[in-house]
Symmetry: C2
Subunit: 220 residues, 2 copies
């Protein structure tokens, strides 16, 4: 019982900070996306391809959450954009961590903030980070049962990238079933079939993202 | 500060229950393994192949942890062995949940209890479930950076099954690097290269498991 009360207080405190972050993003004309997915689903690769497609038209910064290392942030360093690494020590990012990360980030000229969450399909779904949209990377080798097994994750995402489509012929993955089960939970969710490794399908995703961002109050 | 104290108390309470479970297993002559891994790494498939190889020589029961569904337990029902599904609502199993699960399980004639943990590389590593050994399923599409990114998981496992080896030619995965990084953290850990989907490499794993179990006080 005591545990439940504490959990609720933690989430309330998180939501308060997230609202503060969201105000700050709106004032600064920044769109923010929270990229979530299993360990090894390809979050960093998707972010790499996204940066390559958009960096000439919009300023991009990244906050990367990782349990203990800076491996992913190191991969992003080559793009010469502001990157902050947060070692969470836990299985998800919180709004407090994002607020701390923002202190270290030069947001001058930044229009898109990409948050790479910790590899985990459960806890990141429960924490508002002040983002404009949450995006799930789900890769075909993980199996097509993920929508049924992770309903909260499906419910809170605006887009799902079905990644590693280059492996579709070598695994048991029914794309129609995956989409049907996700749509049953979240009829509004958008799908993008991609292979971040070989760069396929990324344009549809970045076109959608660009269109969504134009609805936010981006600084011109 | 208050949060840290509570976390410590939760872990202490967990360890006390785990010790009680371990005593019960020793008294009953039961070996228990905790199978962990990312979502979609192939935990249930490995358990299926393991049951198929061992069920004629030893009584097997399964406790399956899942966020919200009974999909994995349903897959195991075909083996006509005792299976209990625990819907955790959280990102890992606890010793308390195992104790509750054991109440529902007929352990008469059971020599091997397989616990399938929630798909997650972080929190399950921190919770003792009274098991004799913890085993990680890591699949090659997840990438070879997992040992560096999840050091605690590497440290507490006695064995790592490198699964989905049938995909090794289609992904970037350096098996030697994976093993080297894991061995740097845990020099004693055993590796098994398998494909649970096509059934390859399972015999080496079950031979090792059989040998390990013979060191526990199994009922004859």
């Amino acid at each position: 019982m005591a545990k439940i009360v504490i959990a609720k207080k933690v989430l309330e405190a998180n939501d308060n900070i997230a609202a503060r972050i969201r105000d700050r993003f709106r004032e600064g004309g920044i769109s923010a996306i929270d990229i979530m997915g299993s360990p090894g689903s390809g979050k960093t690769s998707v972010i790499e391809r996204t940066i390559e497609r958009l960096k000439d038209e919009i300023g991009i910064a990244v906050i990367g959450g990782d349990l203990a290392t800076s491996l992913d942030a190191d991969r992003l360093a080559k793009y010469d954009i502001p990157v902050v690494q947060i070692n969470t020590g836990t299985c998800h990012l919180t709004a407090y961590m994002i607020e701390q990360g923002l202190e270290e980030l030069d947001l001058d000229g930044v229009g898109l903030l990409i948050i790479e969450n910790v590899g985990n399909l459960i806890c990141p779904a429960g924490f508002d980070l002040g983002q404009d949209r949450k995006v799930l990377i789900s890769s075909v080798p993980e199996g097509d049962d993920k929508p049924l097994k992770h309903p909260l994750m499906m419910r809170i995402c605006q887009a799902i990238l079905i990644n590693k489509m280059d492996l579709i012929n070598f695994v048991d993955f029914d794309t129609d079933k995956f989409k049907r089960d996700a749509l049953n939970i979240n009829p509004e969710v958008q799908f993008f079939e991609v292979s971040a490794r070989i760069g396929e399908g990324i344009e549809d995703w970045t076109n959608w993202l660009r269109k969504q961002m134009s609805k936010d109050e981006i600084k011109s």
